[in-house]
Amino acid sequence: METIAMPAINFAAIMPETILSVIAMALLLINVFVPSEQKAYLGYLSLIGIVVTFFTVIGGWGTPQEGFNGSVMQDNFALFFKGIFLVSAALSILISDQYMKREECNHGELYPLILLATCGMMLMASGTDLMTIFLGLELLSVSLYVLAGFQRDSLKSNEAGLKYFLLGAFSTGFLLYGMALIYGATGTTRIAAIASYVAQNSLAGSNLMLLIGMVLMAVGFSFKIAAAPFHMWTPDVYEGAPTPMTAFMSVGPKAAGFAAFVRVFVIALPTLRADWADLLWVLAVLTMTVGNITALYQKNIKRMLAYSSIAHAGYVLVGFVAGNAVGTAGIMFYMLSYAFMNIGAFAIIVLVGKKGEPNNNVEDYAGFGFKHPLLAVCMSIFLFSLAGIPPAAGFIGKFYLFSGAIQAGYIWLAIIGVLNSAASVYYYLRVMVFMYMKDPVEEFDWLKVSPAIALCLIIAVAGVLIPGIVPGYLLELAQKAVLL
C-alpha cells in the first residue's frame, strides 16, 4: 500500500506560533475552571508564554527555516517582526490587568485572545504564501474584533467592535480579491513562485490583471495599517476600544500589516516596482498629512493618538517607498520603537482615567506634571519620542526612514515627511503644555500605579531611551533582518 508523500513540514518554522497557540488554548481551559477572583494568574501565565516564545524567537535568529512546502518562512525579517509583536503583546498585557479590573470587565478570555492575535501577526510576518498571510490576517482580525468590543457594557466599545468588524471585513474582501487576481494572472499563490513567473514572462504594469490585483492588495493592506484614505475606522475604533487594547491595536497589527505588505510587494512584485512605488508615494504623503492635520484639532487624547498613529504609518510608508536596505531596516527599527513609545503613552492614559471617567481629554491633564512628576516625565519622554526629538528612539527611527528616502532619491517625500513631523510636534507639545503649564483642576488622588504598569513603564522608557542613545546594536539587527 503506497502512502501519500508528505510535503516538507518542518515544525521549527512555526515554533513560536505553535507555542503561543498551545498556551492560548491552555489559558482558555484554565479560564473556565478557575474561579473568577484568581484571573490575575492568567495574565502572568500569558506573560510567561510570551517570554518563552521570545526566547525561541531569539534562538531562531540567523537560521532561516522554511516549512510547509514553502508557505512559511521564518527568516530574520520574520523574526524581527515577531519580536515586535511579542513586545507589544507583553506590554499591553501588563497594562490591561489594572484597567480591566477597574472597568469591571476582567474576563479571562482577554489573554488567550491577545495571544491568538499575536499568533496571527506572526503568521503574517513569516507567511510566504498569499494564503498563509491571509490566514494569519484573519486570525489576527477576528481576535481584534472581539478585543475592540471587549468592554461589553460600554456603548462606545460595542460601537468600536462593530465598526472594526464591518470595515475590517470590507477591507479583507479587497485583499482577497487582489490575491485572487494575482493568482489568476500568475497561477500560483506562493510569493517566490509569483516572482519567478512574473520574471520569466516579463509581466509588468502593462498586465492589467496583475496591476489590478496589486492595487487591490495595496488597498487591503492600507486598511490594516490605517493609511489614508483608508483610515476612517481608526479614530472611532481606537477611541471606543478598551485603552490597553487600543495600545495593542495601534502597534502590533500595524507592524504585521507592514511585514506582509513589504514581503509581498518587494519579493513577489519587483517588476511592478515603478507602479507601486508611485502608488505608495501618494499614500504616504496623504497618510502623513491627513493624520497630522486631523490630529492637530483633536481634544480627546485617544483620538489624537489614533490620528498620530495614522501619521506614523505614513512615515513608515516613506521607508517602504524608498525600498532600499536602509528604508526597510528603518521600517523595522521604527515599528519597534513605536511599540515602546506608543504603548508607554497609552499606559499613562490608562492611569489617568478612573472607573467610568476615562479622563481622555487633553484638559484633564492640566497640572499632571507637578502632581505626578515621575509619570509626567515618562509621558514627556514618550511624546518627545513620538514627535521625533532626540535623544529618543523615535528620532533615530525617523532619521533612518528619511535617510532611506533620500538615498533612494525621494527628496520631496523626505521634505514632506519632515515638514509633517514638525507640524506633529504641535499636538504632542499641547499635552505637555497642559501637563506642565496649566494649573491643576484635579487632584489625581485616585491614581495608583500597579506593579505591572510600573514594569511596563520601565520597559517602555528603557526601550525609548536606550536605542535612542546607543542605537548601534539594534540598527545592526535591523540591517541583518532586511530581505533584500
Partner: protein, 498 residues
C-alpha cells in the same frame, strides 16, 4: 593638549551631572539652588582653566587645523556617526560665554523663581549641556542632537515660569526652531550621502565632509536648508517673529540665556558649518545675507524705537545687533569675521545684562512699561548707573565692548560692500536714538507714578558688577580676545571666500 582626560566631554557633561545630583534634593530648594550653582561655577572654572592653558598649546592639532582640543570616539558605527568634539579659538569664547551666562542666569533668578525652583535649575543645567555641545560638536549628527536638546528646556522655561502669553510664545519658539532644524537634518543626510557616494566612506564628521565636492545646484539647496535653520535661530529678518514673543514672555533667566546664548548658536552654526561646508553656495547667497542683515539692523532698531515695553525693546534691539553679526559673516573677511565673533560675545554680555536689569525692575514693581518709570537716577543710583552703562554699551559707545565689534564688522564689510556698510551705519544711529530715549525716559524724566523701588541687592550687585567689568575690559583691551580668534578666522576665510 592631549585628549586623554576628555576635558571637552567633562565640560559638556558637568551640568548634566549636576542635574542628576539635583534629583535627591528635589524638594529641598536651598540645597538644590546651591548644587546647581556649584555645577555651573565648576563648569565656568574649568572653562577659564582651558582658556588660561590655551595659548600654550594653541598650535596643537587634531584632524582639523586650528583646533587645540580634540576628542573622537566611536558611537553609531553603522552610520559613520562618531562622538567628535573639538575646540578652536572660536568655540572657546563661546564656551566661556556659555559658562559665564549660565551662572549669571542662575543668580538673577535666585529669588525671582518661587515655584518649582528645582525644576527651573534642572532645566537651566540641561540647557547648558545642550549649548556647550552645540559649540563643541564636530560631528553633524552629534551637533544636531545637541541642537535639539537645547530646545526642550527653553520651551519649559518659557511655558512654566513665563509671563503674558507664555504658552503661545513657548510653542511658537519650539515650532519655529524645529521646522528649520528638521530641514537642516535632511540637508545633513543629503550631504552625508553625497560624501559617502563620492568617497565610499560614509561619515558625519566635519573634517571629512569639508572636502566634499557638491554639484552647484545641490549645494545651493543644502546650504539653503542650513541657512534657514540657522537664520531662524539668529534670527535673520523674515523669520525673526518668534523672538520678540519668546523674549518678552520668558522669565528673566530664560531671556538672558535666550538672548545671550541661543541666538549665538545660529551664528556659530553658520560660521562653523554653513559657510565652510558650502563655500560656493554661500557666495551665491552673500548678497541676500547682506540685504537681510541690513534689513535686520534697521528694522530691528526701528521697531525697538516704537516699543512701550522695555523687554520688548531689548528684544528688538537683539534683532538689530544680530544683524551686525550676519553682516560680518556675510562679508567673510578676517576683519569682519573677527568682528562678528566679537559681536556675538558682546551682544551676549550686554543684552544679557539689559535683560537682567529689566527683570530686576519687573521683580520689584511688576511692570515693564517704560511709561511707568522715571527719575530712577535719584531713587536707585547704583541700579541706574548699571542701566546707563549697559545701555551705552549697547548703543556702541567707544571704550565699551560693542563698539569694537561693530567697528570691526563695519570696517570689514566696507571693504567688500560699501553700500551695506553705509546702511548698517544708519542702523547704528537709530540704535543710538532709541537707547538714549530709553535711558532718558527711565532714568531722568521726572517720576510719573511712584513705585516702591529698592536699589540693587548685594547678589545683584555682584552679577552686574562682573558683567560691567567684562564690558569695559572687552571694550578697552580686546587684544587677547582678537588674538584668540585670529587664527581660526584666518584659516576659515583663507580656505573659503576671498
Amino acid at each position: 593638549m592631549p585628549n586623554d582626560y576628555l576635558i571637552l566631554t567633562i565640560l559638556v557633561f558637568i551640568p548634566l551631572t549636576g542635574c542628576l545630583l539635583l534629583v535627591p534634593v528635589w524638594s529641598r530648594v536651598e540645597w538644590a539652588r546651591r548644587i546647581a550653582l556649584g555645577a555651573a561655577l565648576l563648569d565656568l572654572v574649568l572653562a577659564c582653566w582651558v582658556y588660561a592653558a590655551a595659548p600654550a598649546v594653541i598650535a596643537g592639532g587634531g584632524t582639523l587645523p586650528g583646533f587645540f582640543l580634540w576628542e573622537d570616539l566611536p558611537w553609531i558605527e553603522r552610520f559613520g556617526i562618531r562622538y567628535t568634539l573639538g575646540m578652536d579659538g572660536i568655540a572657546l569664547p563661546m564656551v566661556l560665554l556659555t559658562a559665564f551666562i549660565t551662572v549669571i542666569a542662575m543668580l538673577v533668578s535666585w529669588r525671582a523663581i518661587k515655584e518649582r525652583v528645582t525644576f527651573h535649575y534642572f532645566l537651566i543645567l540641561v540647557m547648558e549641556t545642550g549649548i556647550m555641545g552645540v559649540f563643541l560638536s564636530l560631528d553633524l549628527f552629534l551637533f544636531y542632537l545637541f541642537w535639539e536638546v537645547m530646545l526642550i528646556p527653553m520651551f519649559f522655561l518659557i511655558g512654566i515660569w513665563g509671563h503674558g502669553r507664555r504658552i503661545y510664545s513657548a510653542v511658537k519658539f519650539f515650532l519655529f526652531t524645529l521646522a528649520g532644524s528638521l530641514l537642516m537634518l535632511l540637508a545633513i543626510i543629503g550631504l552625508y550621502l553625497i560624501h559617502g557616494d563620492q568617497s565610499g566612506a560614509y561619515t558625519f564628521g566635519l573634517p571629512a565632509l569639508l572636502h566634499t565636492q557638491i554639484a552647484s545646484g545641490a549645494s545651493l539647496w543644502l546650504f539653503a536648508a542650513f541657512l534657514l535653520a540657522f537664520a531662524i535661530k539668529v534670527p535673520i529678518f523674515p523669520v525673526h517673529t518668534w523672538l520678540p514673543d519668546a523674549h518678552t514672555d520668558a522669565p528673566t533667566a530664560g531671556s538672558v540665556i535666550l538672548a545671550a546664548l541661543l541666538l549665538k548658536t545660529g551664528a556659530y552654526g553658520l560660521i562653523r558649518f554653513g559657510y565652510p561646508l558650502f563655500p560656493e553656495a554661500a557666495r551665491t547667497f552673500t548678497p541676500l545675507l547682506y540685504i537681510l542683515g541690513v534689513i535686520g539692523i534697521i528694522y530691528g532698531s526701528w521697531v525697538a524705537f516704537a516699543q512701550a515695553d522695555m523687554k520688548r525693546l531689548v528684544a528688538y534691539s537683539s534683532v538689530g545687533h544680530m544683524g551686525f553679526v550676519v553682516l560680518g559673516i556675510a562679508a567673510w573677511t578676517p576683519v569682519a569675521l573677527s568682528g562678528a565673533v566679537m559681536q556675538m560675545v558682546n551682544h551676549g554680555v550686554t543684552t544679557g545684562a539689559l535683560f537682567a536689569l529689566v527683570g530686576m525692575l519687573d521683580e520689584r514693581s511688576g511692570t515693564r512699561s517704560i511709561a511707568a518709570f522715571g527719575g530712577l537716577w535719584g531713587k536707585a543710583p547704583v541700579y541706574s548707573f548699571f542701566f546707563l552703562l549697559f545701555s551705552l554699551a549697547s548703543l556702541g559707545l567707544p571704550g565699551l565692548n560693542n563698539f569694537v565689534g561693530e567697528f570691526l564688522v563695519l570696517a570689514g564689510v566696507f571693504r567688500v560692500s560699501p553700500i551695506a556698510a553705509c546702511f548698517a551705519f544708519v542702523g547704528v544711529v537709530v540704535t543710538l536714538i532709541y537707547m538714549l530715549r530709553l535711558v532718558q525716559e527711565v532714568l531722568f524724566v521726572g517720576e510719573r507714578t511712584p513705585l516702591p523701588l529698592a536699589d540693587i541687592s548685594f547678589r545683584e550687585g555682584i552679577v552686574l558688577g562682573v558683567m560691567g567689568v567684562t564690558v569695559i575690559i572687552l571694550g578697552v583691551y580686546p587684544a587677547p580676545f582678537l588674538d584668540l580668534v585670529s587664527m581660526p578666522v584666518a584659516l576659515l576665510t583663507g580656505g573659503g571666500l576671498p
